[in-house]
Symmetry: C2
């Protein structure tokens, strides 16, 4: 019923996560109202992203260069933050408190979803840990069974080394109302309690 | 901090209504995970829409042809539904109960927003009403001060003709709980009450 180019754009928007028919239609009509040059910029950005962006061969994050900006920076601290996806790298960088290097896994071990240790690119991580001498390896996975499984698995492989291995603290999120915290988090916060001062 | 092509795509998504920084980032990362051919299709759809879609010179709706499919269809009923935007045409067509023609205004009269009668393309509508002989003109604007103002204005211009002029009924939406209906709607539903049977 729509002209075919409108249908195509609606279908395109529907490929995005969380965007259904109604929203896709609304977004499509907003494109019609946009300046030509803005739509061209949008179209070109999509094209460029597939042409220019590729994985950093060292840390598996994304870059437009041969090696990513973080990996080429020799002034960083010699610690390695292992994350489950690319997004986490930029999240930590935005925060600006971590000054070391990153390694991006291809997800977390999850046997229930058929994701086994050999599927998440651990070999590359191990090669890197062997090659570069890191003072500390930090696991920054989401607190979940998959996160714990992956942490424990890597820790076991590294058990014959003397590298310090840590993971992000779990506990109460700042500002949270204790009443509304789930019992698993509360239990963890209690068992990982910290001496004051 | 992001590679520049990522930044460009995030900025592109942010041009869309209701999409802020966080959502734009999430959508951008979902594009990275998409198949190359799907991203190309998306990029191409955006390009095509500005190249192919234009206003129908007759009814002001959109089309890829010289004249839109509805205007060229001579089998339709000789009534004209005047709407405030293109979206309304497709909404009515999807519904499938209206079998006449449409005319799309460039919005509604709204002096408070500086939109005066000469800004919404009324001349074209008047020419069309004069040229084609419609049995009925139906105003399908949103129930609002702007909608009422526009209806009354056009009705006044047409006061020397004997065309039947109607507008969509206002009243209670189907399935609505009377308790939660705003008083203006309730007042209108009462004053426009209808004899049963």
């Amino acid at each position: 019923m729509y002209p075919s180019s409108i249908n195509d754009l609606i279908e395109s928007f529907k490929m995005l996560p969380g965007i259904g028919e109604k929203t896709a239609e609304r977004l499509c009509f907003s494109i019609l109202d946009m300046e030509d040059e803005n739509v061209e910029f949008f179209s070109e950005s999509l094209k460029q992203i597939k042409e220019k962006i590729h994985r950093c061969p060292n840390c598996n994050s994304i870059t437009e260069n041969d090696i990513c900006d973080i990996c080429v920076d020799t002034t960083r601290e010699k610690s390695l933050c292992v994350v489950e996806d690319i997004k986490s790298v930029f999240l930590f960088e935005k925060m600006g408190v971590f000054k070391g290097y990153y390694h991006v896994l291809d997800g977390l071990i999850s046997p229930i979803d058929g994701i086994n240790p050999e599927d998440i690119g651990l070999e590359k991580l191990m090669d890197r840990i062997k090659k570069d001498k890191y003072q500390e390896i930090i696991f920054a996975f989401k607190p979940s069974i998959e996160g714990e499984t992956t942490s424990l698995y890597i820790k076991k492989i590294l058990s014959d080394t003397d590298i310090k291995i840590t993971q992000l603290a779990s506990g109460l999120p700042m500002g949270a109302d204790i009443e509304y915290i789930d019992s698993l988090t509360l239990e963890r916060a209690l068992s990982d309690r910290k001496e004051i001062g």
